[in-house]
Subunit: 283 residues, 2 copies
DNA sequence: GGGTATTTGTCCGTATGTATT
DNA sequence: AAATACATACGGACAAATACC
């Protein structure tokens, strides 16, 4: 068996999708029709469709059929910006979205944690037994769930006078401005770690992701520091990878490039690196 | 059928993996044993295992069995750095990594493209009919395939005297230094777009990813500009998400945080060094 | 609202091929 | 060579979701 049947079917369907015979949104023939067409069993056809799903090319809708995926216009988050501009509570996010899309978010929910029992201990350099405040938000764009954000603050900030950190609800002007006003803490910079992983059950439900895997989660952990190098906040954000992009600007960059609203790269373009590899293998 | 059988089996096995009953590297019971244990058919057990595979929790080896995956130590790439970072930095990083990890890469392969027929046209602001040089590399760490990189340069740079761009093989000192030396072009900054998507077949093969999906690909597109704001290079890199992390530093950040070699990441032991693969380091 | 046809989802049993030990 | 374990492939049955009349 030089090449499995389900893989030959997969490659034939993929070719039809990639050269435009099957356009985004189009419906594939039913599993029964494909079974007859390829003279294979329905289960073998289904194996080919599963491969197409894991490659992100099609989606199945029970009772309806199998469809070529329509990709959403991705939302671009710029990770680099003035070091004191990241509020961790959606202000930069609102600003970047601009006029065309309608962002909204839930009112922050506040919780108190013991350090060591939650995942901010390392980044905030806390010792055992100290407490941490978390403020959690759900963010939407055009009523589509877009991200989940949780900011962690050492409880010592509250004890020093930043009482509003433990009150639920928005802090007008953002927490960066509030901390500066209340305690004179100026945010001097931040470090952000970016990872990609599979969604957990909560994320899968909130973002309405298919259970069968396809979509990954992008997690960013932004640790903000004051001018003495003391960590003052950790913001953990999770984004579904199918509707988000990120941008980084370093040095002098033309303004029309730096501003993400002017660039939109429609997805579907294939990886340059891999096409190069393919050519190399063939040549 | 409130919850499918294969899903209940999946949940049970996942629980055993996540709470340590099944440790990384351990072998699961065979499909036959699992069939008897759960009183289901072997195909149903296999459906559960497929879910575990797409979640990145196990891997199957024909003739051997099914094993809990050992997570590799992630490699951290810092996206922010001096905008004109030349090759000297790359060498430093290489040395720093070199103790524990051995980075290597293939010699760059050169191709000539017509603009419009390949995907660098937008970023390099090329008109129809102009030509582009691409330089492609495969990068490894400890003999593990780590990334694929392709840099695109307008052919006009070659015509102005940067002949070595169209010669295969390393450019000693890096291309940034070479362009400055040969043409007086100083790299003033860059813009980087980061996306996550499913792997294609070439990437799946090169990175040895499971065919059944699970692992996503991180694609970065770095457009570099000279001091006049003219794009001089586009570098497209693809990384498998299961062995890569990224970092961004903005403003004033404590050195022990900015340099990841001194901090320990949550999942594993040490994650040392930010990356710079030796040649074609495009700061 | 109800009923029916269509389409995908789940589950089973079986047979055979391929890789590893 | 033989045994073991996963991979592929088939056919059948019923359930669940959806669309349409």
């Amino acid at each position: 068996m030089p090449e499995p049947i389900y893989r030959r079917i997969y490659e034939d369907l993929r070719r039809q999708i990639e050269n435009g015979e099957l356009r985004p949104g189009a419906q594939l023939r039913t599993e029964i029709e494909l079974r007859d067409h390829y003279e294979a069993s329905r289960n073998t056809v289904r194996d080919a469709i599963k491969l197409l799903i894991t490659r992100g090319l099609v989606e199945t809708r029970p009772g309806q059929g199998t469809f070529v995926v329509k990709k959403m216009e991705p939302f671009v988050t710029t990770l680099t910006g003035p070091p004191d501009s990241s509020s961790g509570e959606g202000d930069t996010y609102k600003k970047e979205v601009g006029e065309l899309r309608r962002p909204s978010n839930t009112s922050p929910e506040v919780q108190i944690h013991m350090a060591g029992s939650e995942p901010a201990t390392d980044e905030l350099q806390l010792s055992e037994g100290t407490t941490v405040v978390s403020r959690h938000q759900q963010c939407f764009i055009d009523d589509t769930p877009w991200s989940l954000q949780t900011s962690f603050y050492p409880m010592s900030l509250v004890e020093r006078g930043a009482r509003r950190l433990i009150q639920a609800g928005d802090i007008k002007g953002g927490t960066v401005a509030y901390l500066k006003e209340a305690l004179g803490i100026k945010q001097a910079g931040y470090h952000e770690a970016i990872t990609v992983r599979a969604p957990d059950d909560v994320e899968s439900a909130f973002f309405k992701l298919a259970e069968d895997g396809g979509v990954s989660i992008i997690e960013t952990r932004r640790t903000a520091f004051d001018e003495q190098g003391t960590p003052v906040r950790l913001t953990v954000s999770v984004y579904p990878a199918d509707r988000n992009q990120f941008a980084v600007n370093v040095g002098k960059v033309p303004p029309e490039i730096e501003d993400p609203s002017s660039i939109s790269r429609p997805p579907g373009a294939r990886s340059d690196a891999s096409t190069a590899t393919e050519t190399e293998r063939n040549g």
